[in-house]
Amino acid sequence: MTTEQNIDMVTLTIDGKEVTVPKGTFVLHAAKQVGVEIPNFCQYPDLRPFGACRTCMVEIVTRRSTIDISCSAPVSEGMQVFTRSQKVLDAQRFAVEALLVDHPIDCPICDASGECELQNHAYYTNVRVNNPLARPKMSWEYETLSESVMIKRDRCVLCGRCVRVCDELVGATALAWAERGFQSYIDGAFGQDLKDSPCVSCGLCIEVCPVGALLNTSYHDTARAWFLKRVQTICTFCGVGCNMELHVEEATGQIKRIIGKQDSGMNGEQLCARGFFGYEFVQGKDRLQTPLVRKNGELVESTWQEALALIAERLPQYRGDSFAGIAGAHNTNEENYLFNKFVRCVMGSNHIDHDAGVGQGVRQAGLRDVFGSDAPTNAFLDIFENARCVLILGSNLSATHPVFSYKLQTAIRRKGIKLIIAAPQALPLSQIADINLQYRAGAEADLLNGLAALVAQRELVAQEYVGDRVDGVDEWIQTAQTYTPEGIAANTGVPVALLEQAAEMYATGGAGADGRLDTGLFPPSTIVYSAGLTLRDGGEEIEYGAAALALLTGNVGRSGAGVNPLKVANNGQGALDMGCAPFLLPGERPLEEPEFRRSLEQAWGLSNPLPSRPGLGLAAMLQAARAGRIRAMYIMGSNPAQAHGNPQVASEALANLEFLVVQDMFRTPTAEYADVVLPACSWAEKDGTYTSAERRIQRVNKALTNHGQSIPDWTILVHVLERMGFERLYTSSDQILAEIASVVPQYGGVDRRTLERPGTVVTLRPGKVYRNPSIDEVRRVGAHWPTTENDPHGTPVLYADGFPGGKARLIPVPFRQGQSMGDGVYGGTVQVSLYHQGTGTMTSRCPTLVSLHENGAADSSPERGRGVGMLQSPNLKQSGYSTGQLTDI
């Protein structure tokens, strides 16, 4: 992460306190630094200053026009500012009284009451009269704009935060002001119904509304803000790993709403629809209350005693190769680690895997062959801050990793980052892309290897970098000669000119052929895609191509560069790191290397050696079960019966098992085949850690009491082990984390304390945000692995000092005429919707998400992309309030 140097600093006095801030800072933010709060409505961190509400007035005695709005007045040397003088208070009081002229003041029935900025400002500015003009107030009824957003317009103070966040931070541009003057109100952009608009129901507008005008349909009128206990945790859906705050009503012990929080994590205040509305399943009526045991062919309610006794009696019979375990990509690291230990040591089997996305297990070949690990190389913030060109490959990130795509579009629009989108169909982000490569579905490998070949042919290769860090170049170049621009164009369906343009833009970081930096390299470019893309036959060739493209142009191990396959599930990365793959031990170490096995045997204090032959992956496991070679299975938080590409195969396999144990929150289709179903806690009911798709280890905190008799998955495993004759190993998830920190090299030094400390400042860029250094520091919580005892904050950029195996190894993919895999590679298994995650075990039990999906809200399917508003207004990039480019000041 960079720190901008050589910034002019300005010293001024605010209420008698001296403060030094970078030039270009606004008075309001400078005041905040010395602890002086100034009331405001329209000012919002990370938005351009707006100057609409006039509540933030201060007196600047060193200037001629002494009263000014502090949110848009830049500081100057020697400035003297007073924020609480009589003149200021009078002016502020007038502004608030003016807002109250048409305000209903129905606080008792207003959701915002207790956290309403208008209430606060009225109190602060000593307002004593309501409606001094005594004219009738305007009144609006509640209006439901969509399944997620309601509005009560007479409470609106027209600060425009909602309109601006939706445009600048989400990129949906779904809201706008309608009419002028007194008649002015907030409505869908272009007069559109919000349901048909690009609104992605992220809830950000609701969250930033300073008053009770925009309302959350599922929270509306169900709780009071001051009765809510706030618990910080991590989202349980996708790999972005958003920090969030669960608001739990103490009296009922229920989650009432979820919000993001400024300054908490990568996502700041942003969440996506899943994060914002995806909690109703926790209180779902069909949550499992007690263990179920199969009796006379029926699953009946039972007790923990009976269920555990049955498991302890039956499982030991299947020790060895007839046993398989499926871990959960939504489970915590601690649970997956313990599960891995259970399957490998206790059950003596290497048949362990997890659903890495779209019902597929972990793939062996891919990025790991090139770099030594298949983890994404660069942290999200690093990409937003430092990348100059982004290549998005074949993934609708707006549905798979929504908040990443929202933040990326902000960075792209503000900083003029070049964007290349390669996808078979138009994506929401296509509208702001510089180059759209619309290739024939399935031709990703041809495209990427082709682009890399073009880079090599056009001599854009970073010779020195490649010489130092890359092996197998000559062989690769030889193979690359088989690629001709025409051949690539024929295979992918992308015109030659566009291919060459894209190759140049990527290789030169968007700077053009003469844009070399002093280091001899071009500005950094990065490649981003959802890891689900490569989970199919031949998927490794895509990754070889991506890696070749990045290595040849010197784009690995640098800030703002890298190859970033984003894991789909929220802890897909963690499950892999914990060794839930048939051929990997914890820490992504190959099972076949005896030394790794030995070190693990030592760490775990085993007397018998670990089984040395790699086990079967998810698909093969189910095949083996179908053929009767695997006779017992233990499935934790996974749903292969639904996720598998061919449900017939999966159900036959599961039905064919002699003994199946399933741990889940619900009676999933998989659980229907089980002999024992154990009720597990939801993410809100347990402690632990998740590792997000950017390798960030973050802490999950228990917010609710356990539902029914359910207990956390790791506790279930501890109980099972206890019944099977092992002593009680762990009494808290922290103990497991401590063991992980000592056993898994990448997680060295991680403990609860380092993860819980308040965020650390990772970037300082005063004077470098949009004429407004409101966010002059971004805080980061958690830690990016690899961490060590000495550096528990971790490593945002991998391979900065070389690759694990010394050098990266290029792997050539020969050109094959006319061999793109064509349509239908996903075999109909992927249903990419913003409102669902995986098989929908959780999301399909959230009524708001279900209705958003069923009513075809934006991004609910590739056909119902977004863009409606944007397409109608092709010049939106230049329109009045849309984000322009970042300027230096």
Partner: protein, 163 residues
């Protein structure tokens, strides 16, 4: 002299002796409580709609120093909000009346109910239905004071009868 003194000693007794007694034969008889007597807080029904007035704003629960009041709410067509459940844990109540003072819609009132003794402590948990039942007959009325100002006053059932 001394005889007069003797009768003087009985002066009060004789004076009171022929009036009807002030003592009531509680519990056979009940006396009317003073207007401002603070008995159990109860919920008041809106006579025009027949529904509880409460909008579940939670202010009473916040004002209560003893955490006596709890509620859950849902949206409501006319009032905006509406309590689904509303509970008063009478044993903890200290009859301070802060809830009544905090209520913006006069939905809660200190009733004249004070006989809370019971053999089962669960009976001391007053839910919404019980509280509404106890609040039956309490209503607000506008009254002109002697100085001519209009004042909203609360009427209790027994006051309505005596009037």
């Amino acid at each position: 002299m001394s005889l007069i003194d003797r009768f003087r000693g009985f002066y009060v007794t004789l004076g009171e002796g022929f009036k009807s007694p002030t003592t009531v034969q509680y519990p056979k008889e009940h006396r009317d409580m003073g207007h401002r007597f603070r008995g159990l807080p109860v919920l008041v029904t809106d006579v025009s709609t027949g529904e509880e007035k409460c909008t579940a704003c939670g202010l009473c629960a916040t004002a209560c120093p003893n955490n006596v009041i709890s509620m859950t709410s849902e949206p409501h067509a006319t009032k905006g909000r509406h309590p689904v459940t509303y509970t008063i844990q009478a044993p903890r109540c200290l009859f301070c009346g802060l809830c009544v003072e905090s209520c913006p819609v006069k939905a809660i009132q200190m009733s004249h109910v004070f006989e809370l003794a019971t053999t089962d402590r669960n009976n001391l948990l007053y839910d919404k239905e019980k509280l509404l039942e106890l609040g039956r007959g309490i209503y607000d009325e506008i009254e002109q004071t002697e100085s001519g100002a209009w004042l909203e006053v609360t009427r209790f059932p027994e006051e309505a009868v005596t009037r």
